[in-house]
Amino acid sequence: MAEMKKAVITVLGSDQKGIIAKVSDVLFRHDVNILDISQTILSGLFNMVLIADISSANCDFSALSDALTAFGQERNLQVRVQRSEIFEAMHQI
């Protein structure tokens, strides 16, 4: 089996309704499976980290990234999509 390709999606910004719903929707439409999700509100600031399996995505990384960041711009949220290797490299030996 091919190694799973993972992406880390982070959303930062003011708390508002439907953020998780919308992000999940975008992921669902791109055939991406959510592996882990955690969110907190720190002094009114919405803070979400989502780890997804993008091996089966129906588009390339760039298209997925653009779709999510476009949503972020619409709602004035900072949305970032990054390959998980950068975090693994920095925090795991």
């Binding site: 982070t10 882990d36 955690s38 980290v49 780890i51 760039s62 950068i86 975090f87 920095m90 925090h91």
Partner: protein, 449 residues
């Protein structure tokens, strides 16, 4: 599995502490381009570079997007031009290199270079003579000349020529405050795989093509040291090592990925702390965080020695191949802390010289008065080359004698090259010393004290 804190910490390092990959540099050998016809040589060079580096910028941008880490520069380093020009016109080669660099979209191309630590060929002399005009009439070409080494000693004839080349380059780019000199480095013990400009070239011992990466992140180290305020140096060194390890892992990841996507072998990761003029991206600020009021005061050399060594110790395990210059850079105009230290008089050229004994490279991006003589610049080069030669390390000189400006005035280069106050040099003459010429013999390798 990754945890949320680690993910957020990485984002903070990138956003607030300005962690970035400073450069992806593709080294390209130009030996296959040789010809006895200048026109054909230039065509060969242009074709080879534009073919090899065709996707370099695009791949760099893709990696930047996918991993979310800025890759500030994409650059090319080539075989030292004097090794392939033969009897051809070096200036035409400089222009071909500049056209090729522009076509590929890179920020800079290094390798308008000569290695003359033991002596000069006709081609070396022709290239050195052409440097001022080459730098004045190209935009992206960087030049470097190696004038000394631990094994060969110092070629004082070349040192003399380079003092004049620096002076003439400043004069030829007078309208831009001597900007040409920012693209000219004079080395001792130059390394063949340095990915950083202006001194990058792809040495004759390298293969056909390779990608190397230079990492950065002074802001990250500074922030980490804030956590060990007041603690003994043991804690400081440990903290720097841990941070350097993380920074370098990012560099290694990017290098491996770029190598795979470009289908070009991975060269090295250069374990460097390279500052920029941005606030929070300063090497001087790290030294000050260790407890110095201003960078340049007594204790600075010791602080820099610790920093430089700890960066290497931390980084070396994070990468499969380490090389280049590897260490902390102290370019005055490119570091806001250094600029401030030079402005308030805490940092003199003599202190900078002492600092070069224990850090990555040398006297870097230092603005000196426009009326400094060519012989004085040669003597500065000779001093710095001697430090490199005796201590078995790379040293370099990149000074800018700013035409028409005097001590205390500021010069603005803009962008990553920053700005610098003009600092004084000694006014007593070194002309008779420099005019002797010949070679300073290679030093003894035993009885080391």
């Amino acid at each position: 599995m990754l945890n949320t804190n680690e993910i957020l910490e990485t984002l903070r390092m990138i956003d607030e502490e300005k962690l970035d990959v400073r450069t992806i540099t593709m080294g390209i050998s130009l030996f296959s381009c040789v010809s006895d016809d200048t026109r054909r040589l230039c065509d060969n060079i242009y074709d080879r570079i534009t073919r090899k580096a065709e996707r370099l910028v695009k791949v760099g941008e893709d990696i930047e997007k996918e991993y979310g880490v800025p890759i500030v520069n994409k650059r090319i380093a080539v075989t030292p031009a004097a090794l392939i020009t033969g009897k051809c016109d070096p200036l035409s080669v400089a222009h071909a290199l500049d056209r090729a660099a522009k076509e590929t979209g890179v920020n800079f191309l290094g390798g308008y270079s000569a290695l003359v630590q033991k002596g000069m060929t006709e081609a070396d002399r022709a290239l050195i003579a052409s440097i001022p005009e080459a730098l004045a009439t190209t935009d992206l070409v960087c030049s470097s000349v190696n004038v000394g080494s631990t094994r060969a000693g110092i070629d004082m004839d070349a040192v003399k020529l380079m003092g004049k080349a620096v002076k003439d380059t400043a004069e030829r780019t007078r309208d831009r405050d001597g900007f040409g000199c920012a693209k000219l480095v004079v080395f001792s013990n130059a390394v063949e795989d340095n990915p950083f400009m202006a001194g990058a070239f792809f040495g004759p011992g390298e293969g056909d093509c390779a990608v190397s990466v230079g990492v950065s992140g002074p802001g990250t180290v500074k922030r980490a040291l804030e956590k060990v305020k007041g603690q003994p140096f043991d804690a400081v060194a440990e903290m720097i090592k841990r941070t350097a390890f993380r920074i370098t892992r990012v560099g290694q990841l990017v290098a491996r990925e770029a190598s795979a996507r470009l289908n070009v072998p991975f060269g090295i990761v250069d374990l460097s702390l390279a500052p920029t003029p941005a606030v929070g991206d300063s090497v001087a600020a790290i030294l000050e965080e260790m407890g110095l009021e201003v960078c340049g005061t007594h204790g600075t050399t010791a602080a820099l020695a610790l920093l430089n060594d700890a960066v290497k110790k931390g980084g070396v395990m994070a990468s499969s191949h380490v090389g280049g210059l590897s260490g902390a850079f102290i370019p005055v105009s490119e570091d806001i802390g250094m600029i401030h230290a030079a402005e308030c008089g805490a940092l003199s050229i003599e202190k900078l010289e002492a600092m070069t004994c224990v850090c990555s490279v040398g006297l870097d991006m230092i603005a000196i008065p426009g009326d400094t003589s060519a012989e004085t610049i040669s003597a500065i080069i000779a001093d710095e080359a001697a430090i490199g030669m005796i201590n078995n390390k790379t040293t370099a000189v990149r000074v800018i004698p700013v035409p028409g400006k005097k001590v205390g005035e500021m010069v603005e280069f803009g962008g990553l090259l920053g700005r610098a106050p003009i600092i004084p040099v000694r006014e007593y003459s070194s002309a008779e010393f420099v005019n002797r010429g010949g070679r300073i013999p290679a030093p003894l390798h035993s009885l080391r004290n």
